[in-house]
């Protein structure tokens, strides 16, 4: 899988602080890439560099294998977190204007817009002033503005904020469809449930550095602690020293639940063997950490050394 975007050792220094300190990320083509990090970590700085709004002090960015160049602007669609529209301008004119800034001709823009207006069922908005639309409606218009020129790379910063669940789902489906059509999406958010749901890859930036980077599975594997959730009937006695019972609790109706961790290189089968010799198993499941847990763990500082720069 080739990378559509590669950032190499990006450094961005502002007067008093270093917003990005040797940041490298690779975004595989055709994926949804979660750019995560607490507030002020440097995500927006990185996004602005990718958009060529600012330039890095050190390092470089490759888009489709080429160094960033002004011509790439038309290949990128950007929905900033802080977004707005010209309030006194009509929706249709405004979108035409923004599309032309992205390099479409007026006629091309018109055709693309017709499709989107139909798709979102917003044909009646064309001649409305933006200020007469609700916030959610404006968000839809902004989303159209971001994707109408069919960019290869779409950068969405908190795209769901301000949407009701129905519209959020609509946008989510759009994002998935865009990916399936071949676009790559960089998705910056604090909402871990949407990361869980949508992202194929993630990078976590904390204090100006990338502290986690990789595919969803690789990252989760990194944070697995080899523990298992076991439900069973009966009485669980002592296990060999290869296994540690972290916690047990009574689930009622004669069923108990235990959290068991393999602390040596013993296999899962061995654990299961020991378990079924003592109790009747109801269910057995590996504990896979949620992105929420990973986020808190990583940012909170409890990060395994080997997870750095995967």
């Amino acid at each position: 899988m080739s990378n559509i975007l590669e950032a190499h050792d990006i450094v961005k220094q502002y007067a008093t602080h270093r917003a990005l300190d040797g940041v490298s990320v690779s975004v595989p083509k055709g994926t949804i890439f979660g750019l995560l990090g607490p507030n002020g970590a440097g995500k927006t700085s990185l996004i602005r560099i990718i958009n060529q709004i600012t330039a890095p002090d050190e390092g470089y960015v490759l888009l489709g294998g080429e160094r960033l160049h002004p011509k790439h602007i038309s290949h990128i669609g950007y929905l900033p977190e802080e977004r707005g529209l010209y309030k006194k301008m009509k929706v249709g004119e405004q979108l035409l204007y923004l599309a032309q800034l992205k390099g479409l001709s007026e006629r091309e823009a018109m055709e693309k817009l017709k499709i989107w207006f139909k798709k979102f069922d917003i044909k009646t908005w064309w001649a409305k002033n933006v200020e007469d639309l609700s916030k959610g409606m404006q968000q839809k218009v902004q989303f159209v503005a971001t994707v109408m020129h069919e960019p290869k790379l779409i950068i969405l910063d908190e795209p769901f904020s301000g949407f009701d669940p129905i519209n959020a789902n609509l946008i989510k489906d759009e994002i998935l469809e865009l990916r399936d059509k071949g676009s790559t999406i960089i998705f910056s958010t604090h909402r871990m449930e949407s990361v869980e749901e949508l992202c194929d890859h993630i990078a976590l930036i904390h204090k100006s550095k990338v502290i986690l980077n990789g595919s969803k599975k690789a990252v989760k594997d990194q944070f697995k602690d080899n523990s298992f959730e076991v439900s069973y009937r009966g009485e669980l006695g002592d296990l060999p020293s290869d296994f540690e019972v972290v916690s047990t609790k009574d689930e009622g109706e004669g069923i108990s639940q235990a959290n068991v961790r393999i602390v040596s290189d013993a296999s899962v089968n061995q654990l299961v063997g020991h378990l079924i010799s003592q109790v009747e198993l109801v269910s057995f499941r590996e504990n896979i950490p949620s992105f929420n847990e990973i986020f808190i763990k990583a940012v909170g500082g409890e990060i395994p050394e080997e997870a750095l720069n995967l």
């Binding site: 007067a15 602005r48 958009n51 060529q52 709004i53 600012t54 330039a55 890095p56 002090d57 002004p70 602007i73 990128i76 950007y78 929905l79 900033p80 802080e82 977004r83 707005g84 529209l85 010209y86 309030k87 006194k88 301008m89 204007y97 923004l98 032309q100 800034l101 992205k102 902004q142 503005a145």
Partner: protein, 447 residues
């Protein structure tokens, strides 16, 4: 380049479609026309209503032939007692009564003027002047100076001014016309720079507070966005100027043909007829005066013609663009640096200072268009557009204009560069109180 044009186009279309633009553009020429109309009306009015009859009771017997009638005043000499004349005066608004005592030569303060309403200072001083002059004549005659000498000594001096053209031929010039043209051009430029400069600032602030800036800036370079905006507003300014010129000319011409001149001449004729019936002597006098007036009108038309009108217009457009570009870049930088109008205030002052100073220098330069102050302030780019426009109708050497233009171009390139450095940082900066130190740091930020 394409993006600059797109920004320019949007800026232009949005602004010229605004109600306020349309109203201003139509209303201003109407106001000018209305003003013009009032002037014409007042002129006619002065013929019809302000005609005063001044009755004179001359007890000294010295002034019988000395008061001369003119457009607005007719003198009548009465031989009745003061009290009777005063009684008759009641209710006669257009009449005045002047009583010249017998001992006027010895006691000049004995002159008395009566009227139903209060006497206008103009009329009062006129009567005083006439009497004073006559007293002087009489006293001079008594001292042995002949009437001939006195008349010879009373010469009206009205200098005609000439400009020497390249071939050394003299060309009649009108200082008054130059004065008016210079002042009008300078003032118009001053207003334009202030209004449209502030317009650019508002536009930039709007984009920033709307937060659309980040979307736009991801497609357009900040410098291009700023330039497009500035040029778009300039195009709006030129459109407005052009429409004003065309509409004002159209409306005034229309009003003139419809009412102005016809009424003016009609009123004049009525007056002429009346006077002619009253006194043939008077008629001759009035015709003489009218021809004087016609001469004056002709003079001022000549004066207007003597002005280098094409040069003034071309220079106006150039200096408007130059001065506007110079200042609007700075206004754009301010708009980008602040988040609301209040914050903008503190930075506006240092920008408005030189503009206000320029109109002040322009006023001084008009009185001395070739002075050192006029020269230097029309070279410094911050004041040169306004001051130079005030000077040009008086004739400025070509090299001075060329030098001033070159300096202005360099000036606006400089401010645009400076403003762009501040602008690109400022538009993405939120929640930070900005001061001059901060701004100067931005200038040196990289990329």
């Amino acid at each position: 380049m394409k993006n600059i044009f797109l920004v320019l186009k949007r800026e232009y279309l949005v602004r010229v479609r605004k109600k306020s633009f349309i109203i201003m553009t139509i209303l201003t020429p109407l106001l000018i026309a209305a003003f013009y109309g009032i002037m014409v009306w007042a002129a006619i009015g002065s013929f019809q209503n302000d005609r005063k009859t001044i009755q004179v009771i001359d007890k000294s017997g010295l002034f019988k032939t000395k008061f001369k009638n003119d457009d607005n005043t007719v003198f009548e000499f009465k031989d009745e007692p003061l009290a009777d004349a005063q009684k008759k005066l009641k209710g006669q608004e257009q009449k005045l009564l002047v009583m010249i005592p017998a001992d006027i030569l010895e006691k000049p303060s004995g002159l008395q003027i009566y009227s139903d309403k209060s006497v206008s200072p103009l009329v009062k001083s006129r009567i005083e002047r006439n009497v004073q002059q006559e007293i002087r004549n009489i006293k001079l005659t008594k001292a042995g100076i002949t009437q001939q000498v006195i008349e010879d000594a009373n010469q009206d001096v009205d200098a005609q001014t000439f400009n020497l053209d390249e071939e050394g031929k003299s060309q009649s010039s009108s200082t008054t016309a130059a004065y008016i043209a210079g002042y009008a051009a300078a003032f118009l430029l001053y207003i334009f720079i202030l209004i449209y400069g502030a317009g650019v600032m508002q536009g930039v602030m709007e984009e920033k507070s709307n937060r659309i800036i980040e979307v736009v800036i991801s497609s357009v370079k900040p410098y291009h966005l700023m330039l497009g905006k500035i040029l778009g507003v300039a195009a709006v300014g030129l459109t407005q100027f052009l429409l004003w010129a065309v509409l004002t000319f159209g409306i005034t011409t229309a009003t003139q043909t419809l009412f102005g001149f016809n009424r003016f001449t009609a009123a004049q004729e009525v007056v002429n007829k009346q006077t002619a019936q009253a006194d043939p002597e008077l008629k001759k006098e009035m015709e003489k005066q009218q021809s004087g007036m016609v001469k004056k009108v002709n003079d001022s038309i000549e004066g207007l013609k003597s002005l280098p009108l094409t040069q003034i217009l071309l220079c106006f457009v150039f200096y408007f663009l130059g001065g506007y570009l110079l200042y609007s870049a700075l206004y754009a930088a301010i708009g980008a640096s602040v988040e609301n109008q209040q914050e903008a205030g503190q930075f506006m002052f240092p920008i408005m200072m030189p503009i206000i100073a320029a109109i002040f220098f322009a006023q001084l330069s008009i009185n001395q268009p070739d002075g050192a102050l006029a020269f230097w302030t029309s070279m410094i780019p911050f004041t040169s557009p306004i001051v130079m426009m005030a000077r040009i109708p008086f004739g400025v050497p070509a090299w001075e204009i060329a030098l001033s233009m070159v300096l202005l171009v360099l000036g606006f390139m400089g401010t645009t560069w400076l403003a762009a450095r501040i602008y690109r940082v400022g538009i993405l900066m939120y929640g930070k109180k900005v001061n001059y130190k901060e701004l100067s740091k931005w200038i040196f930020y990289k990329g």
